[in-house]
Subunit: 571 residues, 2 copies
């Protein structure tokens, strides 16, 4: 191992780390990555070259050189083409992966916090280099639209990774490497001790990635673990292997180029029919679990893997409380975007819209009735989705067939319960991929007491207009659901400052964050690295936050030595 | 609530907080408390007045005004007199305590980090004010000698509390209260958001105190919890209620004097025959557990209460590796002190002395045989304990009858296994308390393969001289025991720098801290606040460290609000 290299990478990336530290402190916007795929920024060749790189990977064995391979695995279906990508990945022997990771962990411990940061930042920029290819890989596994796949699964995801890296750096730097200590002990006089502190990693981390955002949560977990000394085995979703494999390959290349053991980062892929996740999580050598996915499995892990460090980010039923609309077009427009965006397959997508039966006030003293609010929302959704090009850019494709089935089930259940379909879902014709699995949002009207219909996440483009007795009841119901069923992003529309404050208190008690009067100028559910604490950890939608000190501080421990300063050396 | 008061307390104590922050950073010695009970510092009256205060509490109902009292409880025996203190404490209704704590938690959330620090530091100084009375209460419950009860359970314990307070302050201050965020969103232009971040406590913490150091670990847990917003129910050991009751009463008085709800700090006492600990720990309203005590119960809690945040500090079998003795008198003298100190009833007391069968080198090239090392150690222990006054100051009393029984059991088991008693234990005659339960250390010689004899903590003044094939074998055995059975403080005596480094690596791998060549100028097992990380959390002797960021960062979470800046206000 050439010790200079990581130190040189630190020097090269130091300005970024300093800027990231500053961003964490001020929580203002910052990014060293290019968010837009525009050819005016990248030139005309890079997008095409990225697409070609993606296409060259299809229909063959993915070239991932890692230990413990005992065969081939992988069966991914593109939500855009309905066809298999036909890429085969290493089928792993889990024990061999854990052994390789543990062997890699030992020399990695010797790197300083600065050196680790240098290597990890280098990885982040190496990952950005393949942002175009990654965008296509993300489209054809997760179903994201091109723009989201480029920015949301590229720069924005890397931002979250660098944010976690930065928190880990802060936590590591809180521990000095040495100290001089002296104290008077009565008659024996002053004793001087030389103390040394060593950062000690926990062990191998298994990072479970989700289907619809393969890397957005994975990068923070990977960098938090690497920074604190823990090797990582990434477990992709069976339909989201390619983006993870590309990232793992690239990170391993960076490690190798630094003269480091690439087995600090490994991948364990599987297929739906022969899953290996539980085996990995319950493996005695697994010390840390970072999980993104369904609430059900997340809670199972929290309960059954409690002997490991467990960090989860799952889902809830995100609520919207409607009180009054100072700017109906902008606010309903923002909400419609949120309902359509990536076909509501985001953990931050709104689902339950709690509307007082008496309607909502708008500017000028008028009131929109409950039905008018629903109709305006439905009309806006229709406007957003009638042009296939616009629909494609906004909605992308639906990752799982189960989500399409869910739409059908919800429609029938709502009708059976006496609810009303305000806007039906329909597949839109994708301009580039005629066979794409698509669905516009289903909007249904239900009574407040029909909690069994809307009281948990429906992972599909489905939105409930919930008729509430009053705004207070709307707030109470939304906050209670957040507390009991979980919520990652909740929304409030109100121009009454007292009601906003009451809502803030109610959501604080519920342990849920609240976005207020978010309009259509930006995606209402955008979660900004360095600024928005993602997941509170106080409700069933996950126990960890991207990113705070709690996300990193327990991933390492401290071993200490002390020794008296010899009398001749002591002053 | 008068909001000015906590802010004023912050101003009054700000210099201490700043100094504590500095001490955490440099890890050098600092204390705002008076460690010595000397009359030259305190005047002649305060020691006597403290003793009188203690005596005035005996034989009556303890005046602790807290909610949920359903009777009286308490049966403590003084290890010095063998008699009951006959103090009766409130017998609690657990649900009423949790309810009171939850009610107190709500207004407490409104205090800033500065205000909380002000209140907690005020509490710490109020606790110091009763250091003399606490010393007597600690003596007659825990069995500590007067000096240790004054400094170790007074200033030194408060130091650890303020250290945890300071770490919590750092973690809280890492989260800003507000932020201004702006970002360009393509064609819509720049969007500005105003963001607010609220610290949110977890819930009620139950702090389980141990018998021999009722407050040393309790103060850090109490202050870490209060700082992060969590109310505390202290659960004293059935024979260690009085010091805890005094502390709880004093902390409640400080809260009341600030106009705050005193139910942020409550006590739940019990008796050995009718324990309530498990009921408290498994209560649905218990969110956090801080536990100090036996390894067995600590591991039980980690396994069975994994749905709570669990912080444990338990015990291990602390090893001593002997390679060479540059200063035999000073080093063996230090070790003898460590074996006698508080009759080895400390989680940092050495127990297993791993000595090469071929002996250990001393300065000048000579070698002390295995037997000579043991004999010198035994002779030094005899010298330390033959004068009853000196024995009393060093050994104190033995808290539990079970520890006396353990000495007997070890002696018989060792003999039956073919081991040898090098120095037998005996009760020494205490100069002030003729009936005191006392015991000088038992020193026995065993073979390295007799791990069943020495492979777990013997909570009694018992020390094993373990005949090892070589120094390497000694190191290996000690490090393995530390990793597998737990260790809080391990010790090495060597003047060979290469061997010291090998030992540091071995103990790093074992996840255990190592004190090297500690001589008799200070207590070898003294753990210094702000400097020595106490417990690594990497072996079975506990999962938490006093104090690091991991000890505090997860005790609170963050709830966030965000809202666009209105167009007219935006720049």
């Amino acid at each position: 191992m050439s010790a200079e290299r990581p130190a040189a990478l630190y020097e090269r990336n130091k300005a970024h780390l300093d800027a990231a530290l500053k961003a964490c402190e001020t929580r203002s916007y910052w990014s060293p990555f290019t968010e837009s795929p525009s050819t005016s920024l990248h030139g005309p060749e890079r997008p095409a070259e990225g697409k070609a790189r993606f296409e060259a990977m299809l229909g063959r064995r993915f070239d991932l050189d890692q230990p413990g391979t005992i065969g081939e695995v992988g069966y991914e279906i593109s939500p855009y083409t309905g066809k298999t990508l036909d890429v085969r990945y290493p089928k792993p022997d889990p024990q061999a992966l854990f052994d390789a990771a543990k062997a890699a962990m030992k020399p990695w411990q010797r790197l300083t916090a600065e050196e680790r940061a240098g290597v990890c930042l280098e990885m982040a920029f190496a990952l950005e280099e393949q942002a175009f290819a990654n965008a296509h890989a993300t489209m054809h596994t997760a179903g994201q639209a091109y723009l989201m796949a480029f920015s949301g699964s590229g720069a924005n995801a890397l931002d979250r990774g660098v944010e976690a890296l930065t928190y880990a750096y802060k936590a590591l730097k809180d521990v000095p490497r040495t100290a001089d200590w002296e104290k008077s002990f009565g008659r024996t006089g002053v004793v001087q001790l030389k103390k040394q502190y060593r950062i000690r990693a926990r062990g191998v981390a298994v990072v479970v990635c989700c289907a619809t955002f393969p890397l957005w949560n994975a990068y923070p977990a990977v960098f938090a673990n690497l920074m604190t000394g823990n090797p990582v085995i990434l477990k992709p979703h069976p339909n989201g292997i390619l983006p993870v494999a590309m990232a793992v390959k690239r990170m391993r290349e960076t490690l190798t180029a630094c003269g480091l053991d690439p087995n600090m980062v490994l991948m364990a892929a599987d297929e739906r029919e022969t899953p290996i996740t539980i085996e990995l999580l319950q493996h005695p050598d697994c010390a840390i679990i970072d999980y993104t996915g369904s609430q059900r499995f997340g809670l199972w892990i929290e309960e059954h893997c409690a002997d490991k460090l467990v960090y989860t980010e799952t889902a809830g039923c995100n609520g919207v409380v409607m009180d009054s609309l100072s700017d109906p077009e902008g606010l309903i427009g923002g909400l419609a975007n949120g309902l359509c965006g990536f076909s509501a397959q985001m953990c931050t997508s709104p689902q339950n819209i709690h509307i007082p039966a008496g309607g909502v006030k708008i500017a000028g003293g008028e009131t929109l009735s409950f039905e008018e609010v629903g109709q305006r929302l439905a009309d806006t959704i229709v406007k957003r989705t009638e042009d296939p090009k616009r629909a494609a850019a906004l909605c992308g494709a639906v990752q799982a067939r189960q989500s399409i089935d869910l739409i059908e089930q919800v429609r029938e259940r709502v009708k059976a319960a006496g609810g009303r379909v305000v806007l039906d879902s329909r597949p839109y014709e994708h301009p580039d991929f005629p066979g794409a699995q698509t669905a516009t949002p289903l909007v249904v009207e239900v009574e407040a007491d029909a909690v069994d219909l809307y009281g948990e996440e429906v992972f599909a483009p489905v939105c409930f207009l919930i008729r509430e007795p009053s705004r207070e009841a709307a707030l109470q119901n939304a906050a209670t659901l957040a507390a009991e069923r979980g919520a990652i992003s909740s929304y409030l529309y109100s121009s009454d400052r007292d009601f906003i404050e009451a809502a803030q208190d109610a959501f604080t008690d519920a342990g849920a964050s609240l976005w207020i009067n978010m309009d259509q100028r930006m995606p209402i559910n955008f979660a900004a690295a360095y600024s928005d604490y993602h997941v509170t950890g106080l409700n069933p939608a996950g126990n960890a936050c991207l990113a705070d000190l709690a996300f990193v501080a327990d991933r390492f421990r401290i071993v200490q030595f002390r020794e008296p300063v010899p009398a001749e050396a002591a002053q």
